[in-house]
Amino acid sequence: MSELTDLYQEVILDHNRRPHNFRVIEGATTQEGYNPLCGDRLTLYVAIDGGVIKDVAFQGSGCAISKASASLMTDALKGKTAAEARALFDQFHAMITSDHAGPTADLGKLSVLAGVREFPARIKCASLAWHTMKAAVAHDSDAPVSTE
């Protein structure tokens, strides 16, 4: 059960039950994300002003991992520039796909998702919000982002 309890830490279960920034931001950049494998679906709202993410929020339905990941991500992004957000995407992606054990220190609260790397089938759940954010920040697509 140890890998399971690593995956489903209390912090993750809390974010699943009471996700942060689970709301709509009127007038913000909107991006849809979809994981066709399991039906996880989210809408991400990003308000960027002067190159800085002033506010970010999401709505949607999904598993505990995708919801907790979206919730933690929105907390982490506020105040970051678009470039910093993209860099964080790369670090986060490396953390959940890396073969090396142990959380990456500088990712702070996001480190609770490091356990996902032991569950290859769930990596897409943890990365859905992040892929959606990357598309929203790049502002390069009106089409929904898919993990497939």
Binding site: M1, L4, G39, G62, C63, A64, A121
Partner: protein, 414 residues
């Protein structure tokens, strides 16, 4: 009850389990509890051996060479076709096209029969229960021909609304494509009556039998369907192999689906003459070992008492339904009066995907998600379900392991 008891006596599940080597596998240090047979079934030793023997003793290209190995390979390949004809009670081997699987069979009928006959405004009738593979090929041909898709709705139990079927059928309905058994909910559709209604309206009927073949005895002549498609891998056989039964008169009139070797009688740059049916629809070197595996799977099913096996499966499904229903916070999706092999459900507070991961770590393999049937999920306003699906080898003990696993899910999520 007397019949059930006597047929159950002729089915020995322990003996059946011993035929499937993978069932002794351990996963995450736990004994494997395989409850995902609607996704793909496991294979008995006889199927594995037949495919291995094929490569060791008979491998050569079929229909093409004069040497002994090619004769052996051709005999095995055509032997499987004869077995498939018997399995479906088809009138003769000309009506049996060997395919890559159910999806391939449906695409063949859609692109060959559908594309050559549909006109703008013609209607293709589907149902809300269909697997994506019995939706998308029809959407493609509808876009190509200007035909229109209509859909028979389902009730809250997951049964097709037969009144709506009658209302939707008209002289515009040219094709009805319907699943024999729903992969997402397990509903057994009354297809014999549905086929009769569709024929009365002048429509041609394709039955998707992928989920029926491992459970039910199929008789295409009694059903009077025009096309029946199935996959070997769902009925304890090889992957990448399937069967399309087609009424001979329809197959004869249909244009080829794909061009290539073996489907021709003569080729010049001016004109190509096609081979006779069913070879006209079998372009290129096929999955010969797979077809041998299909034949072995049919032999395996022929060697067991199918009625007794179904009675056993029904008893396990009934037990599973009762046990899962007792767990607080469960909601069963699909409670049709006639069901086989599938228990789809939700667990309050836990997303199916999370439940699937936790069950997997207990050794219990289920499918979680939309089961390639997004319209069914939308109909019940749910994102996904947990689906436990049964094969002839499952037992009450497997269900007990599922229930223990679900209690672990509840510990974490409620």
């Amino acid at each position: 009850m007397t019949t059930l008891a006597s047929s159950a006596a002729t089915f020995n599940v322990d003996k059946v389990r011993a035929d499937f080597p993978i069932l002794t596998e351990r996963v995450h240090g736990k004994p494997l509890v395989y409850l995902d047979s609607a996704n793909t079934s496991q294979k008995p030793e006889s199927v594995l051996k037949a495919m291995d023997d094929y490569y060791r003793h008979a491998n050569a290209n079929i229909h093409r060479a004069t040497h002994l190995l090619s004769e052996r390979a051709t005999a095995l390949y055509e032997g499987s076709r004869a077995k498939a004809a018997a399995f479906l009670n088809a009138p003769d081997m000309r009506t049996i096209v060997l395919t890559k699987g159910t999806t391939d069979g449906i695409n063949l009928v859609a692109q060959s029969y559908g594309r050559s006959t549909l006109k703008p405004g013609d209607e293709i009738l589907l149902t809300w229960l269909e697997h994506h593979s019995n939706i998308v090929p029809w959407q493609l041909v509808a876009a190509q021909t200007g035909a229109v898709i209509k859909v028979v709705p389902i009730n809250d139990a997951g049964e097709l609304e037969q009144d709506q079927l009658s209302a939707l059928l008209s002289e515009r309905t040219k094709i009805m494509a319907v699943g024999h058994v729903s992969n997402a909910l397990g509903t057994i559709n009354p297809i014999k009556e549905m086929i009769a209604k569709a024929h009365a309206a002048g429509a041609v009927v394709l039955v998707d039998g992928a989920q029926a073949a491992p459970h039910l005895v199929i008789d295409v002549q009694a059903l009077d369907c025009d096309f029946y498609v199935l996959s070997s891998h769902k009925m304890f056989g090889s992957t990448g192999t399937g069967v399309l039964y087609g009424r001979a008169s329809l197959l004869e009139a249909m244009p080829p689906y794909q061009g290539g070797g073996d489907m021709i009688a003569s080729v010049t740059f001016e004109q190509t003459l096609y081979n006779q049916v069913p070879y006209k629809f079998e372009a290129g070197t096929p999955n010969m070992a797979g077809v041998v595996g299909l034949g072995a799977a049919i032999d395996y099913l022929a060697g067991i008492d199918r009625d007794a096996a179904l009675a056993h499966e029904d008893a396990v499904l009934e037990y599973a339904t009762a046990q899962v229903r007792e767990i607080p916070g469960t909601r069963i999706i699909g409670e049709a009066r006639h069901k086989t092999g599938v228990l789809s459900f939700m667990l309050e507070g836990a997303h199916p995907h999370d439940a699937g991961t936790i069950l997997d770590r207990q050794g219990v393999a289920v499918r979680t998600g939309q089961h390639c049937a997004q319209p069914v999920m939308d109909r019940f306003c749910i994102p996904a379900t947990i689906r436990a699906s049964l094969g002839i080898y499952n037992t009450r003990e497997d269900i007990d392991a599922l229930v223990r696993g679900l209690h672990k899910v509840r510990e974490l999520f409620t």
